[in-house]
């Protein structure tokens, strides 16, 4: 099917996310205005105006009431989703690289960059009641990351842990009651660009600059699977209904001029979750893919690229019919 082209950003897309129901699609880009779209027809519902620069990350709570964004203007902002109003703005010392609501959305976490003489820090804030007071309230918990900076982050199960992915390729699981490390592993050799949970949160997939994506167990951080490509992987997502994985990436933005789209390295690539075999590619972007998300119903997916477009692609029947040969008993 012809993909929907969501054209509304002036610069490279940084992160896209569906809400829990899947009717809304949120996108953040290097321009200052995150967008929200109807996922069904690609119509733009509105923008969230207020950031003064790059927006690196966003997340929506499970009830689709609030949105949290973080950006290069050294702020983490909370928005009222319905009106697009900026409810609270938390000033930080450096860029906000990642931000996420917890499962309950009673808390949110965000991390800042190591820059301008400030260390990389992780903050946990209370978001039970969201109003302007959050702007000045001190976080529930905050700690400093002394080694390589956090480049991606997710909440662990039951709001008890968070897992951070680092610039050097480390994965660290933190206990939120103490702020101490529980597990620390290094399965990637280079920056972890993205982490996404499976539908039930028991597994998550990482996307790394070392040209691989890997599947881990959320509670033990045990490495389960590995998906190899020949380009840096910027994002990876797990299908909610099938044993499928989609990977997106491409050459670094600064090296893109030496690459042509003809080479097909900007494709979204589909792998089988268990067999680690590639079975399909979707072309379209003319720059690397920066963020990918499966629709919660598993019947379409969206990709946001360095080219500034968000493409929503529904799957044909052939996608669902395709099977791998193996003994099913």
């Amino acid at each position: 099917m012809k993909p929907l082209m969501l054209q509304g950003h002036e610069r490279a897309i940084t992160q896209i996310k569906y809400n829990r129901e899947g009717d809304l699609l949120f996108s953040a880009a290097k321009d200052a205005k995150p967008n929200v779209w109807w996922s069904l027809n690609g119509e733009r519902l509105g923008t969230f105006n207020g950031h003064g620069g790059v927006v690196w990350c966003l997340d929506v709570d499970w009830q689709s009431i609030h949105l949290i964004t973080g950006g290069g203007d050294s702020s983490c902002r909370l928005w009222d989703l319905e009106t697009g109003k900026n409810i609270a703005t938390i000033k930080t010392n450096s860029s906000v690289r990642t931000c996420n609501f917890s499962y309950s959305a009673y808390q949110a976490a965000y991390t800042t960059d190591k820059a301008m003489g400030h260390p990389c820090e992780v903050f946990i804030i209370d978001t039970r009641t969201i109003d302007d007071s959050i702007s000045s309230a001190s976080p529930i918990l905050k700690w400093e990351i002394t080694d390589s900076k956090v480049t991606s982050m997710i909440w662990g199960s039951l709001d008890e842990t968070i897992i951070t992915g680092h610039e050097a390729g480390d994965l660290i699981q933190w206990d939120l009651r103490t702020g101490k490390k529980i597990h620390s592993i290094k399965e990637h050799t280079r920056q972890i660009n993205d982490m996404q949970l499976s539908r039930d949160g028991t597994m998550f997939i990482t996307a790394s600059k070392d040209q691989t994506a890997k599947l881990f167990d959320t509670s033990s951080l045990e490495l389960l699977k590995e998906y190899k490509t020949e380009r840096p992987v910027n994002s990876a997502a797990l299908s909610p209904i099938l044993d499928h994985v989609v990977l997106g990436g491409g050459q670094d933005a600064m090296e893109v001029t030496t690459t042509s789209t003809r080479q097909g390295k900007f494709d979204a690539r589909f792998f089988h979750l268990v067999f680690e075999e590639e079975f399909g590619r979707v072309k379209g972007h003319f720059g690397p893919i920066n963020s990918l998300a499966f629709h919660p119903d598993g019947r379409s997916y969206a990709s946001g690229g360095e080219d500034g477009y968000v493409r929503v692609q529904s799957f044909d029947q052939a996608y669902f019919d395709y099977t791998f040969d193996y003994n099913r008993d």
Binding site: R20, E21, D23, W38, L40, N41, E43, W62, Y103, S104, Y106, S157, L158, D159, R199, D200, G201, T202, M203, D217, S219, L224, E230, P240, I241, D243, T258, T259, S260, R262, Q263, L273, V274, F275, P296, D297, G298, F324, D325, Y326, N327
Partner: protein
């Protein structure tokens, strides 16, 4: 600064004054009476004792050089300088002795002492049996060897017969029942080599060695040997295990060429230190013997310097106004003299006969000329004069049936100081019909710049790529008896290389270069385009020797990204993509020409339908076997994954209460389940405002 220095000096003098004042009284250092020293020398001076002269010292450092020229005292100095020059290369000569006879002549043998035994041993291995000049050959021994020879028993014992060493089968790669071809993959510059067998359904790795060569590796022309380069020389590998077959000591050899029948190998070491007249060496492959060596070429020349006739009987080398043809196995000049050809620019042997073609440049009023020369009788079988010639290129067809000379011609010539400037270029292709009486010559003229020319290896077609960058065309011609070549087909497309299948008929057109990569697979019988594909930034193409497969590659030497190779069928179907970091070279293992007679080959072609089902069923069996293995592997993976998921789902179910608590007792697990296909979801209709239209009705 200067001032500071002065200050220091002053200080020093004061200091020394102080020291002098300290010589008041000397304590007594003498041992008390009856003192026994319990410290051994070894403990105190272990490092010094190591250098203590030993009885065996010296002998090993001495070499005896026999076979030197015998000279009188007046020329002794000259001899000494020559000897020092030759033997000084292996180390410092600390001592030399030239024994003389009563009348002052040197005896012809001399003694040289090096500073260590290693140098001496090196000198012996390198110079023993080396020719100094025509009359003198060095016989070099270690001095200690003489002791060894003294002990030779008076009675001779016949040597025990050596057990017969089974020579590994050099042709083993041709005995494969499925006639799979092999190929070589080089990774990194001078790092690993892999030899693969192009088996179905997947190639199998036969041999892989890291650091097998230092630069690159090549197959010999018939595929028997694999040649690798090392700092000490060149090594040949052969047999099923790729054991070392022969090595040729030629330090820093950079170029090699094989004779067509694999009897000889030429090595060229532009920077080697084996002496100036040892830059180019011809070796016998089987025995490893050095057959003849040559000084390096005077100027820049194209490799190979020596070009061989098809049967290894002759090899020739181009000189200024001269063509030197040498004969094997004597390795002397044919008829003891070179052939004088004033103005000779280039030559090339026929691939099938002892005939060579050369061309002579234009000189004032004398036209340029292409000549066919028969060797060894030096008969000119055909020559053709050509006018206004800027350059010529000689292209033999692989079956030796035709010869094409591409002639670059000009309409205007301008002399700019010492430089010649040609303008109004056009191109002639002179086609010599070698198999016809008196070798008739046809000509094809093209007025556009030429990108490439290639003969069909078997058959009578040739392809020319011509035109400007913007408008490139490929023309296919057919050579006919008794009439001019006919144009068969003209195709457009931005190609700059033509690759014919070794069996003829099929051709791959390609575009190399930074943005290139376009490929076209063509059947020249009816000029159907079988497939159009691309391999981005491809830097090389090679047909397998049977004409069944084509490989395109991106070498890491040309391009840093996406290095690797693709294997295609001759019809342009992609069979395999291999991405390999550091991929540098790919070579199919050549095959010797077929032993089947033409009639046998024809019969096989005629009965192809009969063989077809046999091979087809074999292929099918192989692929089902492979897929069975894959299915088994997947089944196992799936089983393990299922087990993992079951434990996880149990865990997840156990946590349900806590999840409910976290989301204020709103059950959101349901839509996870619904998404998984439970079908409990409620359908919701969403209406969108699409557009508003106003139509005026009158």
């Amino acid at each position: 600064m200067a001032k500071k220095k002065g200050d220091e000096k002053v200080n020093q003098t004061i200091h020394s004054d102080n020291e002098e004042q300290n010589f008041d009284e000397e304590p007594n250092f003498d041992d008390s009476e009856g003192f026994v020293d319990d410290i051994q020398d070894e403990e105190l001076l272990a490092d010094l004792l190591e250098q203590k002269p030993k009885e065996s010292d010296g002998y090993e450092n001495v070499i005896v050089v026999d076979g030197c020229p015998q000279v009188g005292p007046e020329r002794l100095e000259k001899l000494q300088s020559v000897i020092n020059k030759i033997f000084g290369k292996f180390g410092t000569i600390v001592n030399e002795y030239y024994p003389t006879t009563e009348n002052g002549l040197t005896t012809g043998y001399i003694f040289l002492e090096y500073s260590n035994p290693q140098n001496a041993a090196e000198a012996v291995t390198a110079t023993n049996n080396c020719k100094l000049d025509k009359q003198h050959t060095f016989l070099v021994n270690l001095f200690t060897d003489f002791k060894k020879y003294e002990n030779i028993p008076a009675e001779w014992e016949p040597p025990a017969p050596q057990p017969f060493k089974v020579q590994s089968d050099l042709q083993w790669y041709l005995m494969d029942p499925d006639a799979y071809d092999q190929f070589l993959v080089g990774i990194g510059t001078g790092v690993g080599l892999q030899v693969w067998q192009n088996a179905l359904p997947e190639p199998t790795l036969l041999q892989e060695r890291p650091n097998w060569t230092e630069t690159y590796a090549v197959w010999s022309p018939l595929g028997t040997y694999l040649a690798t380069f090392h700092w000490r020389g060149v090594a040949l590998w052969a047999g099923p295990k790729f054991t070392q077959f022969q090595k040729f000591y030629h330090p820093e050899a950079r170029f090699i060429s094989f004779s067509p029948c694999e009897n000889y190998i030429v090595t060229f070491s532009p920077a080697g230190d084996r002496g100036d007249d040892k830059k180019l060496i011809i070796w016998d492959i089987r025995t490893g013997q050095e057959k003849r060596s040559f000084p390096p070429p005077d100027e820049y020349v194209t490799w190979p310097i020596f070009r061989w006739s098809k049967d290894d009987r002759f090899f020739a080398r181009l000189g200024t106004d001269v063509l030197s043809v040498y004969e094997t196995p004597g390795f002397g000049l044919l008829d003891k003299k070179s052939i004088k050809i004033p103005g000779i620019r280039d030559f090339c042997w026929s691939p099938t006969d002892n005939v060579l073609a050369y061309w002579v440049a234009e000189e004032k009023d004398v036209p340029a000329r292409v000549t066919l020369l028969e060797i060894p009788n030096r008969a000119e079988t055909r020559s053709k004069n050509l006018f206004s010639v800027a350059d010529c290129k000689i292209h033999w067809q692989k079956s030796g049936d035709y010869l094409c000379v591409k002639v670059d011609r000009y309409s205007k010539l301008k002399k700019d100081k010492n430089e010649l400037k040609y303008s109004g270029m056009y191109y002639n292709f002179e086609i010599f019909h070698m198999r016809e009486k008196e070798v008739p010559v046809d000509s094809v003229e093209i007025k556009e710049p030429i990108q490439a020319f290639a003969w069909e290896p078997v058959g009578s077609k040739f392809a020319i790529i011509h035109g400007d960058q913007a408008n490139v065309q490929v023309s296919f011609y057919q050579v006919n008896t008794g009439q001019a070549p006919t144009l068969l087909k003209k195709l457009a497309g931005s190609f700059n290389h033509v690759f014919w299948s070794p069996q003829g008929q099929f051709v791959v057109l390609a575009n190399f270069g930074l943005t290139g990569g376009a490929l076209e697979f063509l059947d020249t019988n009816d000029f159907t385009i079988m497939n159009v594909a691309d391999h981005y930034q491809m830097s090389g193409i090679e047909w397998d020797p049977t004409g069944r497969y084509v490989v395109t590659g991106v070498s890491s030497l040309k391009c840093k990204m996406d290095c690797g190779y693709y294997i295609w069928s001759f019809q342009g179907k992609i069979l395999r993509r291999v991405m390999k970091e550091g991929f540098a070279q790919f070579h199919w293992r050549p095959r010797p020409p077929t032993l089947l007679s033409e009639k046998q080959q024809k019969d096989i072609k005629k009965n192809l339908k009969k063989y077809y089902p046999q091979f087809e069923s074999k292929d099918r069996m192989r692929s089902t076997k492979a897929s069975k293995e894959l299915v088994a592997k997947r089944t196992e993976q799936m089983k393990r994954h299922r087990e993992y998921r079951e434990t996880k789902q149990r865990e997840w179910a156990d946590q349900r209460a806590r999840r409910l608590e976290l989301r204020g007792y709103v059950d959101t697990d349901a839509d996870t389940a619904a998404a998984a296909g439970d079908g409990n979801a409620v359908e919701e209709v969403v209406e969108f405002f699409v557009k508003e239209e106003q139509t005026v009705i009158d």
